[in-house]
């Protein structure tokens, strides 16, 4: 019964609005180019409320910066590619005006916000449920009392349960903002939003908690308290996730070092620069793809990873054969020589690519985020975590299950004996160093997705990497993994309380104290080899 009445009222309302809109539409379009941004935002909003499908075309054009003004003041929509213009009001052909005779109708954030909400209004009845859901979300963000009617109408017609729920929440948010909504309606709205329980709900409820109406304020405060309670748990989970993510980055940066430094005993100060080479390899691959085969961009990282491994690995082998092999038994001198290498590599990259940041793009599958409960997980961090574990697993396999891995372990444990058994220790040394370097290159591919790609990239990670390896216990790649994740999680749990700077200081002091307790790191190598 009520729904019938509502539908009737809606029909009536639409009829009236339609009649008014027919005159208004042309007027609104004509008013679009003039005035300030605030005026333009108002016109955009009114266009959205007309419900006129022609408005949608104009608004989309405005959003895409395709709405221009001819010299005579007519707003036209210009096709990006052909340059052909059609009148915004009725779609009539206006030829192909010269680009410099056109004035842009500019948008700023205020207009863009109005646009989003207006386009949402116009797509509330879109046949595609995904679009309707997006429109409902935009309406929730906008929380505009003027939209209540349209939301009611859309709600009455909605068939998809998920979209309907979001629509109801959007309506609730709008009702809470409305000065003339009835008390019970608003209380119901509070309940609806409290059940949603995320930041959007909090944004809608917070102003109500300070409302002059005591019952409303009380209900809102109670709802906010419930949301806070629930979010505390999710906050912990979120922190844990941030910690894992930071840990995975640290592990990637450090695990190559765990091989060259932990296993071979070479203090490779150029490790960070090998990471940087990996990042620049990714950049070059993307440049080539952008120029030659833009369709492959989604695959750019998959293509870059093996190349980065090869490039960094090859440079590693050259460093080992050229320099490090002359210095075995003198670990501290490797520090000196590889420091020199790191300076030269940095300057080489600076000469070749310039000193400023290079743009390494995120492919589609590395962009954006998804929700897990009240927790937000960004795709790039998730993939980096997966990648870190994959690299670690492959590395373990290589060390434990392959002949070359066996030889590597043999040479590190007892070089002379291994040589006597017929192992070509020189070749194994080069391969081990190359493996560690190649993994540094892989780390560079991952880091290019979240950090600067500049000649300084490596410097930012070298100190942290050494901390991780030593904290975990040199000579044990399991220790590196444990060290990386411990430091990552500890850092992220300290950061909200102590702040980013103090948090990092506390972590460093923690490492110093921890080493007092366990002078050989978390996973100490035991036995007689220790003293050597």
């Amino acid at each position: 019964m009520t729904s019938l009445l509502r539908a009737l009222a809606l029909l009536l309302a639409l009829g009236c609005a339609g009649a008014a809109a027919a005159q208004d539409f042309a007027g609104l379009i004509a008013a679009l180019p003039g005035g300030s941004y605030a005026d333009r935002a108002k016109v955009v909003k009114d266009l959205g409320l007309t419900g006129d499908p022609r408005a949608l075309v104009v608004l989309r054009a405005l959003e895409a910066d395709d709405l221009k003004v001819l010299a005579d003041g007519t707003p036209v929509i210009v096709n990006d590619k052909t340059g052909a213009a059609v009148a915004a009001v009725d779609g009539s052909d206006r030829g192909t005006p010269a680009a410099d005779s056109l004035d842009r109708v500019k948008v700023n954030n205020a207009v863009r916000r109005a646009l989003r909400s207006a386009i949402g209004m116009l797509t509330l009845r879109d046949p595609d449920p995904a679009r309707r859901l997006a429109a409902a979300r935009d309406a929730l963000k906008a929380a505009d009392p003027d939209q209540i009617e349209a939301l009611d109408a859309a709600l009455a017609a909605e068939t998809d349960a998920g979209v309907a729920a979001t629509l109801a929440e959007a309506r609730a948010a709008a009702v809470l903002k409305s000065p003339d909504a009835a008390g019970p309606d608003q209380l119901a709205a509070i309940a609806t939003l409290a059940a949603r329980g995320d930041d959007a709900a909090r944004a809608a409820l917070t102003p109500v908690a300070a409302s002059a109406k005591p019952d409303l304020a009380k209900a809102a405060q109670a709802a906010l308290a419930r949301i806070d309670e629930a979010q505390r748990f999710w906050g912990l989970a979120q922190n844990l996730w941030y910690g894992l993510s930071l840990g995975s980055v640290l592990m990637l940066a450090a695990v190559g070092l765990a091989i060259t430094f932990g296993v071979m005993g070479v203090i490779n100060m150029a490790h960070g620069e090998l990471v940087m080479l990996g990042a620049y390899t990714t950049f070059v691959v993307q440049q080539v793809i952008r120029a030659e085969a833009p369709g492959l961009f989604g695959w750019s990282l998959v293509i870059a990873a093996p190349l980065a491994f090869v490039v960094a690995g090859a440079v590693g082998v050259v460093i080992e054969r050229g320099i490090v092999r002359h210095l075995y038994g003198r670990p501290l001198e490797t520090l000196l020589a590889t420091w020199g290498v790191s300076l030269m590599l940095q300057q080489a990259v600076r000469s070749a690519f310039g000193p400023d940041n290079r743009d390494v793009g995120n492919p589609g599958w590395m962009s954006g985020a998804f929700h897990l409960g009240q927790m937000q997980i960004t795709w790039n961090r998730l993939w980096i975590l997966v990648f870190a574990f994959a690299v670690f697993a492959v590395l373990l396999m290589v060390l434990k299950r392959t002949p070359i891995g066996l030889q590597m372990r043999a040479v590190t444990q007892n070089r002379a004996m291994a040589a006597n058994m017929g192992i070509r220790t020189g070749r194994v040394d080069a391969l081990t160093f190359g493996l560690g370097s190649g993994i540094a290159g892989l780390a560079g591919v991952a880091l290019s997705q979240i950090d600067n790609v500049s000649p300084n990239l490596g410097q930012n990670y070298i100190v942290d990497s050494f901390m991780v390896v030593v904290f975990g216990g040199a000579g044990n790649i399991w220790g590196t993994m444990a060290g990386a994740f411990t430091l990552g999680i500890a850092n992220k749990f300290l950061e909200p309380f102590a702040g980013a700077v103090l948090g990092k200081i506390l972590i460093l002091v923690g490492i110093i104290l921890f080493i007092q307790k366990r002078p050989r790191g978390l996973f100490a190598v035991k036995g007689r080899a220790v003293e050597a």
Partner: protein, 433 residues
């Protein structure tokens, strides 16, 4: 280029005799006027400063093509202070006392400027400093061609508070932990409170240099923005930390329509390292944008592309500051008829030189210049679209009226001969008196 002469003397062979060779470079050139370029070409600041070295070389080459100054050719003397602050002081001393340069164009960070200041005072030379900074300083030997806080920070906040800017009510002041963000945020905090913003609507946050893991900070901003009031972020995040910050913003889905970020240290050059699609609408406040359409700017950009041989090299605000500063210096030298530091310092205030946005910037008696202020929104192509600008040029003001310790101070090197004159006590404070 005229720099190469010094390269001949380089090489490892010279290392042993290093300190003895250094003074010999003095007689290298006879009939030129030397101009020192003191920008880091290696180390952490190379990322920003190398461009400024290039633009100075271009300006000097252009001036030489026009016949030089006072009938003499200009000769650029380039050194690399390697982002190392004591080395800045050492190199400044070398430029002034060994190479006898007429003026130095250089420095980026405040600490590098503070490091060379005593050297310029002691040896009485001229420094042109092209970067926006925190103010609270006015020295006789320094000419500040970048923005003072009133030429960047305050107009940006004004815009965001206006109806056009979205009527922001709640503010996050996010910065790197050093003097420029600290001071700017203090000025902004005082200013916002004077505009009736409540304490709980301001959140101030600092992170270390080169910070790269922004997950927690960005989620904090998001939570702070979920209070039902229009929220904006004012970012004084420095250099390297910006790229990961913006990447995290984009990935966590913070859109400019919801929580706009206005930055004071992010220009075209920083954006060149970023995919700007998710960042459309975030803002920056500067005195110049590459996208501003004027004949001067078009000519400058074309010359720049030709000089660097790279049609994609972007231009940015500190480059414009050097352009203005260099032209002012040339005019002042011609007016004074000499490169003598005292005469040029006296000649500079009042000198006008065109800026690249169609106006005439003027050197003021407080050694700052007049500049227009623009607010731009990031576009998909990595450029900025100007959404607001000041109607007139804004005179730079080193002493902020919003801070209690500096509200009574004025700077005037023409009549008062003082950089920090106390209006109330009517005295010139400190050592300058």
């Amino acid at each position: 280029m005229n720099v190469t002469r010094r390269n001949l003397l380089g090489g490892i062979a010279a290392i042993g005799a290093a300190p003895l060779l250094a003074p010999l470079r003095g007689w290298a050139a006879e009939d030129t006027i030397k101009v020192g370029i003191l920008h880091s070409l290696s180390g952490t600041m190379a990322i920003s400063e190398t461009t400024l070295k290039d633009v100075m070389l271009m300006l000097i080459a252009e001036q030489n093509a026009k016949g030089g100054v006072l009938g003499k050719k200009l000769e650029a003397v380039v050194v690399d202070p390697a982002s190392n602050w004591p080395l800045f002081a050492e190199k400044a001393r070398e430029l002034i006392s060994q190479d006898k340069v007429a003026a130095v164009f250089g420095c980026w960070t405040s600490v590098s400027r503070k490091s060379v200041l005593p050297v310029f005072k002691e040896l009485n030379s001229i420094l042109f400093y092209p970067v926006q900074y925190e103010g609270q300083e006015s020295e006789r030997n320094v000419f500040y061609t970048g923005a003072a806080p009133n030429q960047q920070a305050i107009p940006a906040v004004d815009y965001l508070m206006s109806a056009d800017g979205g009527g922001v009510k709640r503010w996050v002041l996010e910065g790197t932990d050093y003097v420029y963000p600290r001071t700017t945020n203090k000025i902004l905090e005082a200013y916002l409170k004077s505009k009736g913003v409540a304490d709980e609507d301001i959140m101030i946050n600092y992170t270390p240099f080169g910070f790269s893991d922004w997950q927690t900070e960005v989620s904090k901003i998001k939570a702070f923005g979920a209070a039902g009031k229009k929220t904006a972020v004012v970012s004084t995040i420095n250099g390297d930390a910006n790229v990961p910050f913006y990447k995290e913003l984009g990935n966590q889905g913070i859109k400019a329509e919801d929580i706009p970020v206005v930055a004071f240290s992010v220009g075209e050059e920083e954006l060149a390292g970023l995919d700007t699609k998710p960042l459309v609408g975030h803002l920056a406040a500067w005195n110049y944008f590459e996208s501003i359409k004027t004949p001067e700017n078009a000519a400058f950009i074309e010359a720049w592309h030709k000089f660097t041989g790279n049609p994609k090299r972007v231009t940015n605000d500190p480059m414009e500051a050097h352009y203005i500063g260099f032209n002012m210096w040339v005019k002042a030298v011609e007016k004074a008829g000499t490169t003598d530091a005292d005469k040029v310092i006296d000649a500079l205030p009042g000198i006008e030189a065109p800026n690249l946005t169609g106006g005439m910037s003027k050197m003021l008696p407080n050694h700052h210049i007049t500049k227009p202020v623009y607010i731009g929104e990031i576009q998909e192509d990595g450029q900025f679209d100007v959404v607001w600008k000041t109607p007139d040029l804004v005179p730079g003001e080193p002493w902020s009226p919003y801070l209690p310790e500096s509200k009574d101070l004025v700077s005037d090197w023409v009549t008062l001969k003082c950089g920090n004159y106390d209006k109330v006590k009517q005295v010139c404070l400190g050592a300058n008196g």
